[in-house]
């Protein structure tokens, strides 16, 4: 634990806090958790003008010190010095949106009343100017009684002045906690905020109509939904099309690594472990990094520009039909990349029942981890024929799998909202920020943080499970010339034999039983598990080893089995990391267990129905 002076960054949502945090700390950031609550702690270091380092903590955006969500509780407790596991703060930076003063000053007044060393960052002054406002920071500083620094966080303007102001604040006082939050009269504060805002705005010409003009188009009842659909279509197209080249490069790299291992490690179990276990397993997963990054780049841009809230606005009516609100659309869209950030994004949903429902259906959105599974099976069993102009059968099947996930999620939400999460929701209330160009630096930082999470996962959970699987498949070793295959004598063989009677009714063979066990760790491991299984089966048989996984599947599986396997993965019991996140976000085992059971049942039924229907239709 560091003992550096702690400075808190506080403000309303949409005040540009995160951009300011990035501008102040650069990439020297650390993300952790507050003990006992599911709120992330974003902290970073910066050096003051006199060289002293301080730690800056970015607190969740809130409208007042009267909390209505766990996030907002943390904000109050940190600024008052009562958060467990957090030091008492030395100073506050209050971030206000220059173009939204009457609203943001209310919270600023409440914070200043705490009597802590405070500086106000008058942020996004460029957008205020664009909106036709001319502001006088001097008047604001005099009215509030604290220093005010105009900033444009996304363009890094005013950052040095803010640091200078901070330097003199941190110098002066010994940090102390605040025992009584001065309640004050909310409506009085509202009136005072309006009064100060009027004084600070020295001239106002009719607002430029940028945001309004864009909204007239994108929120148009007819054009709006089409634009949203088109954007999503482009996004998913890009995920496939743009990823091809980088994926090919990664594949070449993995093959080179395997060749290198073959040349340097003597033949034996160690080479098998490195090649068939570690490199094959982790490699099969790292290949998705480009797709995940492309999807996240789109989502981040949609969020940073302010379009995401518009999407929520357009989707609210539809989400209301299944008992959710437009707010749930944002986490669900993120879940197409990965359910984990999606589930974490549900924190912005204030209503606990809305939030729980969204968490429970998030794993039904087809996450990028399912793509490799779909891609391999589709390549093996669905012929690449055209069913219409520009529409291939393979793409159509993939599209249907995505749709099946969405439809499943909607039906499950409807059922949950009428049973386990019954009750009136908070409805839909959301501030619609002005449009703005995202800062490239913020975009790349966001992407880098996500890539790091993904690679860490590939490096740990996935590597460990593939190694365990490799060991289960390789030991005990079959005696040479005994006539028995390695699979049959291995530990995994015995486990899979035990599972077979349960899975046989839905058309799954023993190889699938193998693949499903490690797929619990991460869905995409199903592919590498099949690859490892067939690699070990083919041991010593060079012609078999040269066959690709796709060719092996074509020979070994029937079409109904393949289709049932796809149906299983639409509802697939999610990966261990998702279960862990659900446990953390819902504070207990009750909901993750509920989720695993309902998904298992759905997956089993869906696979069974698909299998028997395709047999019935003679496929």
């Amino acid at each position: 634990m560091t003992t550096l002076p702690l400075v808190a960054l506080v403000g309303n949502p949409n005040a540009g806090k995160s951009a300011l945090f990035n501008a102040l700390t650069g990439s020297r950031q650390k993300t952790g958790n507050y003990p006992g609550v599911t709120v992330e702690r974003h902290a970073g270091r910066l050096a003051l003008d006199d060289g002293r380092p301080v730690e800056l903590v970015d607190l969740p955006g809130t409208y007042s010190l009267d909390p209505s969500s766990p996030d907002e509780e943390v904000t109050r407790d940190v600024v008052t010095g009562h958060q467990t596991g957090e030091r008492v703060i030395s100073a506050i930076i209050v971030v206000v949106d220059a173009a939204n003063l009457d609203n943001h000053l209310r919270f600023a007044l409440e914070l200043i009343a705490l009597g802590l060393p405070t500086v106000v960052a008058l942020n996004m002054v460029d957008l205020a100017q664009r909106d036709g406002l001319t502001l006088d920071p001097e008047i604001l500083s005099r009215a509030l009684g604290v220093p005010v620094v105009p900033t444009v966080a996304v363009r890094k303007r005013g950052i040095d002045l803010l640091k200078t102001a901070l330097t003199s604040l941190v110098a002066t006082t010994q940090p102390h906690s605040v025992d009584t939050v001065p309640v004050g009269d909310a409506s009085e504060r509202r009136a005072r905020a309006r009064e100060i805002a009027d004084a600070v705005i020295i001239s106002e010409r009719p607002a430029s109509l940028w945001t309004r003009r864009i909204d007239d188009v994108v929120l148009n009842p007819v054009a709006g939904p089409f634009i949203l659909a088109a954007l999503l279509f482009v996004m998913f197209q890009a995920v496939f099309a743009w990823a091809q080249a980088p994926v090919a490069i990664i594949e070449v790299g993995i093959a080179a690594l395997q060749d290198f291992a073959t040349q340097t490690i003597p033949d034996g179990w160690l080479r098998s472990l490195i090649n068939d276990g570690v490199i094959a397993g982790v490699g099969a997963v790292v290949v998705f990094l480009p797709q995940i990054l492309i999807l996240f780049a789109f989502i981040l841009i949609l969020e940073m520009t302010g379009y995401m809230v518009r999407a929520a606005f357009l989707m609210d009516r539809m989400m209301a039909r299944v008992g959710l609100s437009g707010r749930a659309f944002i986490p669900l869209l993120s879940s197409f990349a990965c359910a984990i950030p999606g589930i974490m994004a549900t924190r912005t949903i204030e209503d606990p029942k809305d939030r729980l429902t969204t968490i429970l259906i998030a794993p039904l959105m087809t996450c990028s981890a399912r793509l490799p599974v779909y891609a391999v099976i589709i390549a093996a069993f669905i012929p690449p024929v055209r069913v219409g102009p520009g529409i291939g059968l393979q793409g159509l099947v993939l599209f249907c799998l995505y749709l099946a996930g969405i439809a499943g999620a909607m039906i499950v939400a409807l059922v949950l909202r009428r049973s386990v999460t019954k009750g009136r929701g908070l409805g839909f209330m959301m501030e619609m920020p002005r449009y703005q160009l995202p800062g490239l630096h913020d975009l790349f930082l966001g992407l880098w943080q996500r890539a790091a999470i993904f690679l860490k996962r590939a490096g740990t959970i996935i590597a460990v499970t593939t190694i365990i699987l490799w060991a289960l498949l390789s030991f005990p070793q079959a005696a040479p010339n005994s006539g028995k295959s390695q699979i049959d004598v291995s530990i995994a063989g015995h486990i899979a034999n035990g599972l077979e009677p349960v899975l046989a009714p839905i058309g799954f063979n023993r190889d699938i039983a193998f693949a499903l066990i490690p797929a619990m760790a991460a869905r995409e491991v199903a592919v590498s598990a099949l690859a490892t299984t067939y690699a070990i089966q083919s041991n010593g048989d060079d012609s078999a080893r040269d066959q690709t996984l796709v060719e092996r599947l074509r020979v070994g599986w029937s079409l109904p089995t393949a289709l049932a396997f796809l149906a299983w993965f639409v509802f697939a019991p999610q990966c261990i990391s998702t279960i862990a996140v659900v446990k953390r976000e819902t504070n207990g085992w009750k909901w993750p267990i509920f989720m695993v059971i309902y998904l298992f049942v759905l997956a089993y039924v869906a696979a069974g129905v698909t299998y028997w229907l395709s047999i019935y239709f003679g496929l």
Partner: protein, 83 residues
Amino acid sequence: MVARCVTLDQLPTDHPATLGRIDWAALDARESRRLRELGFDEGAHVVILHKAGLVVHDPIAVKIGRMTVAIRRQHASAMQIAP
């Protein structure tokens, strides 16, 4: 002209108005608090900028002060427009 005693949900688009009495009793405590924090209160100046959907017009985007906020009609119907 706007008829007497209309509520916010009935206000036409692009028609500046001032909020009158708000029926806080029709909203639950969390809803009222959030709406107050977003600036919905007696005397606030509002304009409806957008309405979603062709038939039901729900939710609506309301400009309140210098901020634009999306709310559902059900909440808007608890807010009267000052004559």
